[in-house]
């Protein structure tokens, strides 16, 4: 019995000359909410599409609940629910008819599961309204209802909160948290709304230009996003060298635009100021701050990390 819901090893996808996903290794333990973070075009959707069999990997291996071969993976996918990009359904059918179609196709027993799934996402009162008349938020909810209909063990969600209003986002988040806590459903979720991911994820994978930059647990990330002293100087590399040499600072970041984030020496800001000014460094600003997921992500994309 594996403890992981999803594992990828060297997962790669190439479209012509473009390497969309480049040897990505992901491990998602059962019961986790894994937030996949990256810019547009970083490869998040392609990874989820490969996990959902919508596209075939060029190289690498995918493992779902311990299953790896093509047939075993197909079987394992019946334990997943996927919502990739904008949910798609037949426009001339109602919400109930669309779900009933998929229920029959998947051989899910009992027509009550359709009503249950619709109730769970708050779409049980849409009556004869056809899918084509649905708002984007309603479409997202129906997509989630389909993903939940077969009581999955793993949810693959690509940008699921796009198009939801603020109230819808809160409901959606609460629903995912409930599913995770109550039914131990593992969730892989990508979103560019990082503040939302921060409210959900228990671990993160940061991806850029198809490559996995870092995988980190929420606890570890919180530690990394700890308080710092942000300095704005005219010559950041030199200032960093001075701080390292003369103050013994080991844990700091040098960011573009003459910014240094100092994690050592938070309690002696006046000493830092004095030292830099004495060495002829022009200090235009100093701020005590803590990073959030957004800052961390931006730093990871563009900053140079030491320590």
């Amino acid at each position: 019995m594996t403890d992981n819901a999803l594992v990828t090893r060297g997962l790669t996808k190439r479209y012509g000359n473009h390497l969309a996903v480049d040897h990505v290794d992901i491990t998602i333990p059962k019961g986790e909410i894994y937030g996949l973070v990256g810019r547009n075009g970083a490869g998040k959707t392609t990874i989820i599409r490969m996990a959902a069999a919508q596209t075939v990997p060029t190289a690498g291996e995918l493992e779902l609940f311990g299953a790896t071969g093509e047939r075993e993976l197909q079987k394992a996918r019946s334990r997943t629910g996927a919502m990739v990009e904008i949910p798609s359904f037949y426009p001339y059918l109602t919400a109930k008819e669309n779900l009933e179609y998929y229920r029959r196709q998947r051989g899910v027993a009992g027509s009550h599961v359709v009503e249950d799934a619709l109730r769970q996402v708050g779409l049980d009162d849409t009556g004869k309204k056809k899918f084509k008349a649905f708002s984007l938020g309603m479409k997202q909810r129906l997509g989630l209802a389909l993903a939940l209909m077969n009581r999955p063990d793993l949810l693959l969600l690509d940008e699921p909160i796009n198009g939801l209003d603020p109230e819808g986002i809160v409901d959606f988040r609460n629903l995912l948290l409930e599913l995770n806590r109550q039914y131990q459903i593992t969730i892989l979720i990508s979103s560019h709304i990082l503040s939302e991911l921060q409210n959900l994820a228990t671990c993160y994978g940061f991806i850029d230009q198809g490559r996995m930059l870092e995988q980190v647990s929420a606890g570890k990330l919180a530690e990394k996003c700890r308080d710092c002293l942000e300095l704005r100087v005219d010559d950041a590399p030199r200032a960093a060298a001075i701080l390292e040499r003369q103050m013994g600072c080991r844990d700091f970041e040098v960011l573009p635009g003459g910014i240094i984030r100092l994690y050592d020496g938070l309690d002696v800001p006046e000493k830092v100021t004095r030292l830099l000014v004495k060495q002829g460094i022009s200090l235009s600003g100093m701020e005590h701050r803590g990073a959030n997921l957004e800052d961390y992500f931006l730093n990871l994309m563009g900053g140079v990390r030491h320590g």
């Binding site: 919508q54 990739v84 359904f89 179609y101």
Partner: protein, 262 residues
């Protein structure tokens, strides 16, 4: 597979498109019958020189229907379209593959479902035609023989329709809907004997190639039916239809196996 076909039939029978199509065609059939009822009187002269005015009979109407069975090659596009339902336009195939349904099951499920819907449509249309014929026209003296002959024509047409259906499903899986329709009409229509006759009239050097195309054209058995009768053509029709169905299904499965689904 049974679940898949069950779902496809559920969807097909929940589409207004199918009922609209049936209403329009049955309406046209009814209009045709009423016109024949009013105008369809035929004069003939007996050996004694008497002029007899006769109404068109059911037997003759069956003959007309038999002659028009080749149009089924085009009508089957409606059945396939009802089942395939613009999957690429609506991006709904992703819901099927992401659940782990084997692509072979998706492909064959659509093919079998389209065949079932086509059979249902065919039964309703032929039934409507026969029912109206029997209500509005006299049976005629050779009704039993006409029904038997029509049955043989139908048995010859069925494998050709299935071959056409296999081809159209293949095109639907690999192309956008409109492109699939145009390509199908071009393959079925332009590879027919008539077009080849025209082509070789202008370019006689293409005769041997044209003969090959005629031999594999789904239209050829239909054009032979009138000249030779179903008994002679049936074997050829079954071989040809089965070949089209088999080859197009194998090609379709190979193409769909690794197709990107968005």
């Amino acid at each position: 597979m049974v679940n898949y076909i069950n779902a496809e039939c559920y969807k097909a029978f929940h589409r207004k498109y199918m009922y609209l199509f049936l209403t329009v065609i049955l309406g046209l059939v009814a209009a045709f019958m009423l016109l024949l009822r009013v105008e369809g009187l035929r004069q003939s002269q007996t050996a004694e020189g008497m002029i007899v005015i006769q109404r068109v009979s059911v037997s003759e109407l069956l003959g007309i229907l038999a002659m028009s069975l080749s149009t089924g090659l085009y009508f089957l596009m409606i059945a396939a379209d009802i089942v395939f339902s613009d999957q690429y336009k609506h991006n709904t195939l992703k819901n099927e593959v992401s659940y782990g349904l084997p692509r072979i099951r998706i492909y064959l499920g659509k093919l079998v479902s389209a065949a079932l819907v086509a059979i249902a449509l065919c039964a309703v249309l032929l039934g409507g035609y026969l029912l109206l014929s029997c209500i509005l026209f006299p049976a005629g003296e050779e009704i039993v023989e006409s029904l038997r002959a029509f049955g043989l024509w139908l048995l010859t047409a069925i494998p050709l329709w299935l071959g056409g259906l296999g081809l159209f499903i293949l095109l639907q899986f690999v192309m956008k809907n409109t492109a699939a329709t145009i390509t199908y009409v071009m393959i079925v229509g332009f590879l027919g004997s008539g077009f080849m006759d025209l082509l070789t009239a202008f370019m006689p050097s293409l005769e041997s190639a044209a003969n090959l195309v005629r031999a594999i054209s789904l239209n050829t058995p239909f054009s032979l039916l009138g000249k030779r009768g179903p008994e002679e053509v049936m074997g050829y029709a079954w071989a040809l239809g089965s070949a089209w169905l088999g080859v197009s299904t194998l090609v379709g499965l190979a193409c769909f196996r690794k197709k990107e689904i968005s």
